[in-house]
Symmetry: C2
Amino acid sequence: MRFIESLRWRYATKRMSGKKVPQEKVDIILEAARLAPSAGGLQPFNILVVKDPELLKKIQPIANNQPQITEASHLLIFAAWDDITDSHIDRVFDHINKERNHTSEAQEAYKNRIKASFASRTQEERFQTAARQTYIAFGIAIAAAAVEEVDSTPMEGFNNAELDKFLGLKEKGLRSVTLLALGYRDVENDKLASQKKVRRPKEELVIELN
Amino acid sequence: MRFIESLRWRYATKRMSGKKVPQEKVDIILEAARLAPSAGGLQPFNILVVKDPELLKKIQPIANNQPQITEASHLLIFAAWDDITDSHIDRVFDHINKERNHTSEAQEAYKNRIKASFASRTQEERFQTAARQTYIAFGIAIAAAAVEEVDSTPMEGFNNAELDKFLGLKEKGLRSVTLLALGYRDVENDKLASQKKVRRPKEELVIELN
């Protein structure tokens, strides 16, 4: 299936069948998210993967009792770093330099510019930057699921603070920002499955400046 | 090329050759962004497309004089709505209902829940929500470019307020959040072209909860 066709095929699945997604497909979706670009290459987030039905059942009330939570095969929790510190930045750059077996003055200067840039912001602003980077990976994961013909539901409608508490994310330096349920559409019970996909028209969305 | 291979092939291109990207490929990238999901289906953003070399030259100093701005074929400016109002929401839902030739009490109730949810936040919070949705489309556009074997540079390093002023975005109810230069890598002059792609290891990024 071509990429655009995959994106047309996908929709925010409201009811899933419970059928399991093969682990190799979940791994491809996670790998796509891992390959997503991020400011300064920091990838300031983690992805938590839940597939245990008992745990999903406990998460469901924190997510407005949405049925996909327990009908899904896997739930991906995208959690941004609650701060971006010098030690985070050092760790990422040390890893990059080690993998490339190379460092340079230019690379050091780049790292220091990034540190200075984040140091000039508040912690909340640094978290917001981390959250935005998380959304790039989230978008690419959604696309990867569609390419793999796996249904998915992007979900922002949940109690972030409660989920963070339940999963001990604060202690990990994380704040949940969005969820992606992975599974297969239940065509009979999902009214949205047969509805026309509607988007704002191109003429309204895209502005040609010349 | 398979999707994951496309994502491995892409990198944040630092130098471009000036070669033009065929319009049909630009259109595919824009269509991918248009198909991106968003909270409540609002798609609270616009994408401005710049290809005029003179205009790109004027934008370059606002974007840290990065060479890709003028070496690119097209520059996509992702700009989020500076607010999400009832009239925005009405317009989107009217369009959806018209396209589906259908409305329902459930759909009306859903619209009203979305309105109430946004009404309970500050304008800045509504803008932040709009910006995050913009990043989903941004991620999918980056992936689409890779699939089309078009190089791209995601760029947050620019003076948002100055760009908004230069392009009159405030008057349009928009705030620029990120840029995507589209073009072709200049392998000879781009040191990054030959460097190993490095990402945080999966074991560090992904946390299996069961």
